[in-house]
Protein backbone atom coordinates (compact mmCIF):
# COMPACT_ATOMS: atom_id res chain seq x y z
CA UNK A 1 0.00 0.00 0.00
CA UNK A 2 2.52 2.51 1.16
CA UNK A 3 4.91 2.17 -1.77
CA UNK A 4 2.04 3.26 -4.00
CA UNK A 5 1.42 6.30 -1.90
CA UNK A 6 5.08 6.99 -1.39
CA UNK A 7 5.57 7.18 -5.17
CA UNK A 8 2.48 9.35 -5.53
CA UNK A 9 3.86 11.71 -2.91
CA UNK A 10 7.16 11.98 -4.74
CA UNK A 11 5.41 12.57 -8.07
CA UNK A 12 3.40 15.37 -6.62
CA UNK A 13 6.55 17.44 -6.41
CA UNK A 14 7.05 17.07 -10.21
CA UNK A 15 7.43 14.52 -13.01
CA UNK A 16 9.95 11.75 -12.29
CA UNK A 17 11.19 8.68 -14.07
CA UNK A 18 11.38 5.21 -12.53
CA UNK A 19 14.93 4.89 -11.17
CA UNK A 20 14.85 8.51 -10.05
CA UNK A 21 11.80 7.64 -7.96
CA UNK A 22 13.63 4.70 -6.42
CA UNK A 23 16.63 6.81 -5.38
CA UNK A 24 14.48 9.53 -3.88
CA UNK A 25 12.35 7.02 -2.02
CA UNK A 26 15.37 5.42 -0.47
CA UNK A 27 16.98 8.68 0.52
CA UNK A 28 13.74 9.84 2.09
CA UNK A 29 13.43 6.72 4.14
CA UNK A 30 17.10 6.60 4.92
CA UNK A 31 17.62 3.31 3.09
CA UNK A 32 15.62 1.60 5.75
CA UNK A 33 13.14 0.52 3.15
CA UNK A 34 15.07 -0.86 0.18
CA UNK A 35 13.27 -1.00 -3.16
CA UNK A 36 14.27 -2.54 -6.46
CA UNK A 37 13.50 -0.90 -9.72
CA UNK A 38 11.20 -3.72 -10.72
CA UNK A 39 9.03 -3.02 -7.71
CA UNK A 40 8.90 0.63 -8.74
CA UNK A 41 7.82 -0.06 -12.30
CA UNK A 42 5.25 -2.66 -11.29
CA UNK A 43 3.74 -0.12 -8.92
CA UNK A 44 3.83 2.63 -11.52
CA UNK A 45 2.06 0.37 -13.98
CA UNK A 46 -0.68 -0.38 -11.49
CA UNK A 47 -1.04 3.36 -10.74
CA UNK A 48 -1.27 4.15 -14.41
CA UNK A 49 -3.87 1.42 -14.81
CA UNK A 50 -5.89 3.00 -11.98
CA UNK A 51 -5.59 6.40 -13.65
CA UNK A 52 -3.55 7.99 -10.89
CA UNK A 53 -0.43 8.68 -12.90
CA UNK A 54 0.17 9.28 -16.58
CA UNK A 55 3.23 9.03 -18.78
CA UNK A 56 4.18 12.51 -19.70
CA UNK A 57 7.06 12.66 -22.19
CA UNK A 58 10.75 12.11 -21.74
CA UNK A 59 13.59 14.00 -20.30
CA UNK A 60 16.74 14.94 -22.14
CA UNK A 61 18.34 11.57 -21.43
CA UNK A 62 15.34 9.74 -22.86
CA UNK A 63 13.77 8.48 -19.60
CA UNK A 64 10.03 8.17 -19.59
CA UNK A 65 8.62 10.66 -17.11
CA UNK A 66 5.54 10.02 -15.04
CA UNK A 67 3.21 12.72 -13.78
CA UNK A 68 0.50 12.56 -11.19
CA UNK A 69 -3.13 12.94 -12.26
CA UNK A 70 -5.94 14.67 -10.38
CA UNK A 71 -7.39 11.41 -9.16
CA UNK A 72 -3.88 10.52 -8.04
CA UNK A 73 -3.76 13.70 -6.00
CA UNK A 74 -7.16 12.94 -4.52
CA UNK A 75 -5.96 9.44 -3.56
CA UNK A 76 -2.89 10.98 -1.96
CA UNK A 77 -5.04 13.40 0.11
CA UNK A 78 -7.21 10.53 1.29
CA UNK A 79 -4.12 8.53 2.25
CA UNK A 80 -2.65 11.34 4.28
CA UNK A 81 -5.90 11.86 6.08
CA UNK A 82 -6.69 8.21 6.78
CA UNK A 83 -5.10 6.63 9.86
CA UNK A 84 -2.92 3.60 9.35
CA UNK A 85 -4.93 0.46 9.54
CA UNK A 86 -4.33 -1.50 12.73
CA UNK A 87 -7.10 -4.07 12.42
CA UNK A 88 -4.93 -6.87 11.07
CA UNK A 89 -2.02 -7.48 13.43
CA UNK A 90 1.28 -7.79 11.79
CA UNK A 91 2.75 -11.20 11.87
CA UNK A 92 5.61 -10.89 14.29
CA UNK A 93 8.30 -13.50 14.46
CA UNK A 94 9.42 -12.44 17.92
CA UNK A 95 6.00 -12.90 19.40
CA UNK A 96 5.73 -16.33 17.87
CA UNK A 97 9.22 -17.26 19.05
CA UNK A 98 8.51 -16.25 22.65
CA UNK A 99 5.19 -18.07 22.60
CA UNK A 100 6.99 -21.19 21.43
CA UNK A 101 9.81 -20.79 23.97
CA UNK A 102 7.43 -20.93 26.90
CA UNK A 103 7.61 -24.42 28.19
CA UNK A 104 10.07 -25.62 25.54
CA UNK A 105 12.47 -28.06 27.20
CA UNK A 106 16.04 -26.91 27.58
CA UNK A 107 15.31 -23.30 26.73
CA UNK A 108 15.77 -20.52 29.32
CA UNK A 109 13.18 -18.06 28.21
CA UNK A 110 14.83 -15.26 30.17
CA UNK A 111 17.95 -15.71 28.16
CA UNK A 112 15.89 -15.58 25.01
CA UNK A 113 14.32 -12.36 26.15
CA UNK A 114 17.62 -10.83 27.25
CA UNK A 115 19.44 -11.61 24.04
CA UNK A 116 16.54 -10.14 22.11
CA UNK A 117 16.56 -7.11 24.36
CA UNK A 118 20.25 -6.57 23.89
CA UNK A 119 19.73 -6.72 20.19
CA UNK A 120 16.78 -4.35 20.29
CA UNK A 121 18.55 -1.81 22.43
CA UNK A 122 21.59 -2.10 20.25
CA UNK A 123 19.46 -1.27 17.26
CA UNK A 124 18.02 1.69 19.13
CA UNK A 125 21.51 2.88 19.93
CA UNK A 126 22.34 2.78 16.26
CA UNK A 127 19.21 4.63 15.28
CA UNK A 128 19.84 7.17 17.99
CA UNK A 129 23.35 7.74 16.74
CA UNK A 130 21.98 8.38 13.28
CA UNK A 131 19.34 10.58 14.77
CA UNK A 132 21.96 12.60 16.61
CA UNK A 133 23.69 13.21 13.31
CA UNK A 134 20.39 14.06 11.64
CA UNK A 135 19.61 16.46 14.43
CA UNK A 136 22.91 18.18 13.89
CA UNK A 137 22.20 18.41 10.20
CA UNK A 138 18.71 19.81 10.76
CA UNK A 139 19.93 22.34 13.22
CA UNK A 140 22.81 23.21 10.93
CA UNK A 141 20.29 23.97 8.17
CA UNK A 142 21.09 23.66 4.49
CA UNK A 143 19.66 22.72 1.17
CA UNK A 144 18.68 19.20 2.09
CA UNK A 145 16.83 20.27 5.18
CA UNK A 146 13.52 18.99 4.01
CA UNK A 147 14.96 15.59 3.33
CA UNK A 148 16.77 15.64 6.67
CA UNK A 149 13.58 16.32 8.54
CA UNK A 150 11.85 13.52 6.75
CA UNK A 151 14.75 11.25 7.55
CA UNK A 152 14.61 12.31 11.18
CA UNK A 153 10.94 11.44 11.43
CA UNK A 154 11.48 8.05 9.92
CA UNK A 155 14.31 7.39 12.32
CA UNK A 156 12.22 8.38 15.27
CA UNK A 157 9.39 6.14 14.08
CA UNK A 158 11.87 3.32 14.10
CA UNK A 159 13.16 4.27 17.53
CA UNK A 160 9.73 4.44 19.08
CA UNK A 161 8.73 1.18 17.49
CA UNK A 162 11.84 -0.46 18.79
CA UNK A 163 11.26 1.02 22.19
CA UNK A 164 7.78 -0.45 22.25
CA UNK A 165 9.34 -3.81 21.60
CA UNK A 166 11.90 -3.31 24.35
CA UNK A 167 9.18 -2.36 26.78
CA UNK A 168 7.14 -5.34 25.75
CA UNK A 169 10.18 -7.52 26.44
CA UNK A 170 10.54 -5.93 29.88
CA UNK A 171 6.92 -6.65 30.55
CA UNK A 172 7.22 -10.26 29.39
CA UNK A 173 10.17 -10.79 31.65
CA UNK A 174 8.57 -9.36 34.78
CA UNK A 175 5.40 -11.31 34.03
CA UNK A 176 7.39 -14.54 33.69
CA UNK A 177 9.30 -13.80 36.88
CA UNK A 178 6.08 -13.28 38.79
CA UNK A 179 4.63 -16.48 37.41
CA UNK A 180 7.73 -18.48 38.25
CA UNK A 181 7.75 -17.00 41.75
CA UNK A 182 4.16 -18.15 42.22
CA UNK A 183 5.15 -21.57 40.93
CA UNK A 184 8.09 -21.65 43.35
CA UNK A 185 5.90 -20.96 46.33
CA UNK A 186 3.59 -23.70 45.10
CA UNK A 187 6.31 -26.18 45.93
CA UNK A 188 8.51 -26.76 42.94
CA UNK A 189 11.72 -24.83 43.05
CA UNK A 190 11.98 -22.78 39.94
CA UNK A 191 14.79 -24.07 37.85
CA UNK A 192 15.68 -20.66 36.52
CA UNK A 193 16.69 -18.81 39.64
CA UNK A 194 18.03 -15.31 39.42
CA UNK A 195 21.58 -16.53 39.89
CA UNK A 196 21.47 -18.88 36.95
CA UNK A 197 21.74 -16.02 34.54
CA UNK A 198 23.91 -13.73 36.53
CA UNK A 199 26.95 -14.06 34.36
CA UNK A 200 27.05 -11.43 31.69
CA UNK A 201 26.51 -13.01 28.32
CA UNK A 202 27.85 -10.91 25.58
CA UNK A 203 27.65 -13.63 22.93
CA UNK A 204 25.78 -12.48 19.89
CA UNK A 205 22.97 -14.94 19.42
CA UNK A 206 22.15 -15.28 15.77
CA UNK A 207 18.65 -14.08 16.08
CA UNK A 208 16.87 -12.69 13.13
CA UNK A 209 16.24 -9.11 13.84
CA UNK A 210 12.70 -8.03 13.58
CA UNK A 211 13.29 -4.39 13.33
CA UNK A 212 12.76 -2.85 10.94
CA UNK A 213 9.90 -4.97 9.93
CA UNK A 214 9.51 -4.49 6.28
CA UNK A 215 6.05 -5.48 5.51
CA UNK A 216 6.36 -5.07 1.85
CA UNK A 217 3.10 -5.80 0.29
Amino acid sequence: MSIRHGLLALLERGPRYGSQLRTEFESRTGSTWPLNVGQVYTTLNRLERDGMVAQGGEDTAGHTLYTITDSGRAELRTWFEKPVDRTSPARDELAIKLAMAVGAPGVDIRNVIQSQRRHTVKAMQDYTRLKAQALLAVEGGGARERDDVAWLLVLEQLIFQTEAEARWLDHCESRLIRLSATAATAGTEASSGPSSSSAPTVSAAPNVPTAPRTSAS
Binding site: V121, M124, Q125, D126, T162, A166, V202
Partner: protein
Amino acid sequence: MSTQQPVLQLQNLTRVHGAGATEVHALRGIDLAVYPGELVAVMGPSGSGKSTLLTIAGGLDTPSSGRVIVEDTDITAASVKELAALRRRSVGYVFQDYNLIPALTAAENVALPRELDGTSARKARVEATAALEEMGLGHLADRFPDEMSGGQQQRVAIARALVGDRRLVLADEPTGALDSETGESVLALLRSRCDAGAAGVLVTHEPRFAAWADRVVFLRDGAIVDQTVRSDADSLLSGQVAEA
Protein backbone atom coordinates in the same frame (compact mmCIF):
# COMPACT_ATOMS: atom_id res chain seq x y z
CA MET B 1 38.02 -0.06 22.89
CA SER B 2 40.03 2.59 24.57
CA THR B 3 43.55 2.24 25.74
CA GLN B 4 43.00 5.15 28.11
CA GLN B 5 42.67 4.78 31.86
CA PRO B 6 39.05 4.35 32.91
CA VAL B 7 37.56 7.31 34.78
CA LEU B 8 35.43 5.07 36.94
CA GLN B 9 36.08 1.50 37.92
CA LEU B 10 33.79 -0.67 39.98
CA GLN B 11 35.38 -3.92 41.08
CA ASN B 12 33.39 -6.81 42.49
CA LEU B 13 31.06 -4.38 44.18
CA THR B 14 28.41 -5.61 46.61
CA ARG B 15 26.01 -3.69 48.79
CA VAL B 16 23.78 -5.21 51.42
CA HIS B 17 21.04 -3.16 53.01
CA GLY B 18 19.89 -4.12 56.48
CA ALA B 19 20.80 -7.30 58.25
CA GLY B 20 19.34 -10.62 59.28
CA ALA B 21 15.80 -11.24 58.16
CA THR B 22 15.51 -7.88 56.42
CA GLU B 23 18.79 -8.31 54.57
CA VAL B 24 18.58 -7.12 50.97
CA HIS B 25 21.33 -7.59 48.44
CA ALA B 26 21.15 -4.43 46.39
CA LEU B 27 24.32 -5.18 44.43
CA ARG B 28 26.13 -8.47 43.88
CA GLY B 29 29.61 -8.43 42.43
CA ILE B 30 29.43 -5.59 39.98
CA ASP B 31 32.38 -5.02 37.67
CA LEU B 32 32.23 -1.98 35.47
CA ALA B 33 34.68 0.42 33.93
CA VAL B 34 33.78 3.70 32.29
CA TYR B 35 36.28 5.36 29.96
CA PRO B 36 36.71 8.96 28.98
CA GLY B 37 34.37 9.92 26.18
CA GLU B 38 32.01 7.10 27.01
CA LEU B 39 28.41 7.32 28.07
CA VAL B 40 27.21 4.16 29.79
CA ALA B 41 23.53 3.62 30.40
CA VAL B 42 22.41 1.34 33.21
CA MET B 43 19.03 -0.28 32.70
CA GLY B 44 17.03 -2.66 34.74
CA PRO B 45 13.71 -3.15 36.44
CA SER B 46 12.83 -1.39 39.70
CA GLY B 47 14.87 -2.68 42.59
CA SER B 48 17.61 -4.02 40.37
CA GLY B 49 20.15 -1.79 42.11
CA LYS B 50 20.56 0.92 39.47
CA SER B 51 20.40 3.87 41.86
CA THR B 52 22.49 2.16 44.52
CA LEU B 53 25.21 1.61 41.94
CA LEU B 54 25.17 5.30 41.14
CA THR B 55 25.21 6.49 44.76
CA ILE B 56 28.15 4.23 45.53
CA ALA B 57 30.04 5.33 42.45
CA GLY B 58 29.86 8.93 43.63
CA GLY B 59 30.67 8.24 47.23
CA LEU B 60 27.21 9.07 48.57
CA ASP B 61 27.00 5.51 49.84
CA THR B 62 29.63 2.97 50.72
CA PRO B 63 29.83 -0.58 49.36
CA SER B 64 29.67 -3.61 51.62
CA SER B 65 32.60 -5.04 49.73
CA GLY B 66 34.49 -4.41 46.53
CA ARG B 67 36.30 -1.38 45.32
CA VAL B 68 35.39 1.90 43.70
CA ILE B 69 38.16 3.67 41.85
CA VAL B 70 37.61 7.16 40.53
CA GLU B 71 40.44 8.50 38.41
CA ASP B 72 43.10 6.29 39.96
CA THR B 73 41.86 6.96 43.48
CA ASP B 74 40.37 4.16 45.52
CA ILE B 75 37.52 5.81 47.36
CA THR B 76 36.26 2.70 49.11
CA ALA B 77 38.06 3.59 52.31
CA ALA B 78 37.81 7.34 51.99
CA SER B 79 36.48 9.40 54.89
CA VAL B 80 33.29 11.40 54.70
CA LYS B 81 35.37 14.51 54.26
CA GLU B 82 37.44 13.01 51.45
CA LEU B 83 34.28 11.85 49.73
CA ALA B 84 32.89 15.38 49.86
CA ALA B 85 36.12 16.64 48.34
CA LEU B 86 35.84 13.96 45.66
CA ARG B 87 32.36 15.22 44.75
CA ARG B 88 33.69 18.73 44.58
CA ARG B 89 36.55 17.86 42.29
CA SER B 90 35.90 14.68 40.34
CA VAL B 91 32.28 13.59 40.22
CA GLY B 92 29.15 15.48 39.30
CA TYR B 93 25.62 14.38 40.01
CA VAL B 94 22.41 15.04 38.12
CA PHE B 95 19.18 13.89 39.75
CA GLN B 96 15.67 13.49 38.46
CA ASP B 97 14.50 16.93 39.53
CA TYR B 98 15.16 19.84 41.89
CA ASN B 99 18.81 19.70 41.05
CA LEU B 100 19.45 23.36 41.54
CA ILE B 101 19.66 25.31 44.75
CA PRO B 102 16.71 27.68 44.60
CA ALA B 103 18.59 30.44 46.36
CA LEU B 104 21.28 30.63 43.72
CA THR B 105 21.27 31.75 40.07
CA ALA B 106 22.23 29.31 37.31
CA ALA B 107 25.76 30.64 37.17
CA GLU B 108 26.11 30.52 40.94
CA ASN B 109 24.76 27.00 40.99
CA VAL B 110 27.36 25.95 38.46
CA ALA B 111 30.03 27.80 40.38
CA LEU B 112 29.01 26.23 43.69
CA PRO B 113 31.34 23.18 43.69
CA ARG B 114 34.25 25.38 42.74
CA GLU B 115 33.43 27.90 45.44
CA LEU B 116 32.99 25.20 48.04
CA ASP B 117 36.39 24.02 47.00
CA GLY B 118 37.79 27.41 47.81
CA THR B 119 38.06 29.04 44.42
CA SER B 120 37.44 32.76 44.62
CA ALA B 121 33.90 33.82 43.80
CA ARG B 122 34.97 35.75 40.73
CA LYS B 123 37.10 32.98 39.28
CA ALA B 124 34.40 30.40 39.94
CA ARG B 125 31.86 32.61 38.25
CA VAL B 126 34.03 33.09 35.19
CA GLU B 127 34.44 29.34 34.92
CA ALA B 128 30.75 28.78 35.41
CA THR B 129 29.79 31.32 32.78
CA ALA B 130 32.26 29.76 30.39
CA ALA B 131 30.81 26.32 31.04
CA LEU B 132 27.30 27.60 30.44
CA GLU B 133 28.33 29.38 27.25
CA GLU B 134 30.02 26.28 25.96
CA MET B 135 26.80 24.33 26.38
CA GLY B 136 24.74 27.06 24.80
CA LEU B 137 23.16 28.08 28.08
CA GLY B 138 24.82 31.46 28.45
CA HIS B 139 21.50 33.27 28.41
CA LEU B 140 20.41 31.45 31.57
CA ALA B 141 23.37 32.53 33.69
CA ASP B 142 21.56 35.08 35.82
CA ARG B 143 18.24 33.30 36.15
CA PHE B 144 17.04 31.69 39.33
CA PRO B 145 15.87 28.07 39.15
CA ASP B 146 12.22 29.01 39.48
CA GLU B 147 12.60 31.21 36.41
CA MET B 148 13.74 28.26 34.27
CA SER B 149 11.95 25.36 32.64
CA GLY B 150 12.61 21.84 33.86
CA GLY B 151 14.76 21.04 30.83
CA GLN B 152 16.80 24.18 31.31
CA GLN B 153 17.33 23.30 34.96
CA GLN B 154 18.56 19.83 34.02
CA ARG B 155 20.96 21.21 31.46
CA VAL B 156 22.32 23.68 33.99
CA ALA B 157 22.71 20.74 36.37
CA ILE B 158 24.77 18.93 33.74
CA ALA B 159 26.88 22.02 33.32
CA ARG B 160 27.42 22.05 37.07
CA ALA B 161 28.25 18.36 37.09
CA LEU B 162 31.08 18.96 34.66
CA VAL B 163 32.40 22.33 35.71
CA GLY B 164 36.09 22.63 36.45
CA ASP B 165 38.15 19.49 36.13
CA ARG B 166 35.31 17.10 36.73
CA ARG B 167 35.15 14.42 34.06
CA LEU B 168 32.58 12.03 35.48
CA VAL B 169 28.89 12.77 35.50
CA LEU B 170 26.48 10.44 37.26
CA ALA B 171 22.92 11.00 36.14
CA ASP B 172 20.01 9.35 37.94
CA GLU B 173 16.91 9.44 35.74
CA PRO B 174 17.71 12.98 34.63
CA THR B 175 14.78 12.93 32.22
CA GLY B 176 12.26 11.42 34.58
CA ALA B 177 10.35 14.62 35.16
CA LEU B 178 10.55 15.89 31.59
CA ASP B 179 8.51 15.36 28.47
CA SER B 180 9.94 13.33 25.63
CA GLU B 181 11.20 16.21 23.50
CA THR B 182 12.81 18.08 26.41
CA GLY B 183 14.32 14.89 27.75
CA GLU B 184 15.89 14.37 24.36
CA SER B 185 17.59 17.77 24.51
CA VAL B 186 19.00 16.99 27.94
CA LEU B 187 20.40 13.70 26.68
CA ALA B 188 21.73 15.33 23.56
CA LEU B 189 23.69 17.66 25.79
CA LEU B 190 24.97 14.80 27.91
CA ARG B 191 25.93 12.92 24.76
CA SER B 192 27.82 15.89 23.38
CA ARG B 193 29.67 16.35 26.67
CA CYS B 194 30.77 12.75 26.54
CA ASP B 195 31.78 13.14 22.92
CA ALA B 196 33.88 16.04 24.10
CA GLY B 197 35.76 13.74 26.45
CA ALA B 198 33.73 13.38 29.64
CA ALA B 199 32.62 10.07 31.06
CA GLY B 200 29.02 9.53 32.01
CA VAL B 201 26.89 6.96 33.76
CA LEU B 202 23.18 7.27 33.11
CA VAL B 203 20.58 5.38 35.08
CA THR B 204 17.25 5.18 33.30
CA HIS B 205 14.41 2.84 32.75
CA GLU B 206 13.52 4.31 29.39
CA PRO B 207 15.16 2.42 26.53
CA ARG B 208 14.74 5.42 24.26
CA PHE B 209 17.02 7.48 26.47
CA ALA B 210 19.37 4.61 27.21
CA ALA B 211 19.86 4.36 23.49
CA TRP B 212 21.85 7.58 23.57
CA ALA B 213 24.60 5.72 25.36
CA ASP B 214 27.63 4.09 23.86
CA ARG B 215 27.06 1.07 25.98
CA VAL B 216 23.98 -0.19 27.72
CA VAL B 217 24.42 -2.32 30.84
CA PHE B 218 21.52 -4.48 31.95
CA LEU B 219 21.13 -4.92 35.67
CA ARG B 220 18.95 -7.58 37.20
CA ASP B 221 18.76 -8.40 40.91
CA GLY B 222 21.89 -6.44 41.62
CA ALA B 223 24.02 -8.05 38.97
CA ILE B 224 25.01 -7.13 35.41
CA VAL B 225 23.38 -9.68 33.18
CA ASP B 226 24.23 -8.32 29.76
CA GLN B 227 25.51 -5.32 27.92
CA THR B 228 25.58 -3.99 24.39
CA VAL B 229 28.83 -3.09 22.74
CA ARG B 230 29.25 0.01 20.73
CA SER B 231 28.90 -0.64 17.03
CA ASP B 232 31.20 0.77 14.50
CA ALA B 233 29.86 4.08 13.29
CA ASP B 234 30.65 3.23 9.69
CA SER B 235 28.31 0.28 9.68
CA LEU B 236 25.47 2.62 10.40
CA LEU B 237 25.99 4.59 7.26
CA SER B 238 26.38 1.65 5.00
CA GLY B 239 22.68 1.11 4.72
CA GLN B 240 22.98 -2.20 6.52
CA VAL B 241 21.32 -0.93 9.60
CA ALA B 242 18.96 -3.81 9.73
CA GLU B 243 21.77 -6.26 10.19
CA ALA B 244 23.41 -6.41 13.56
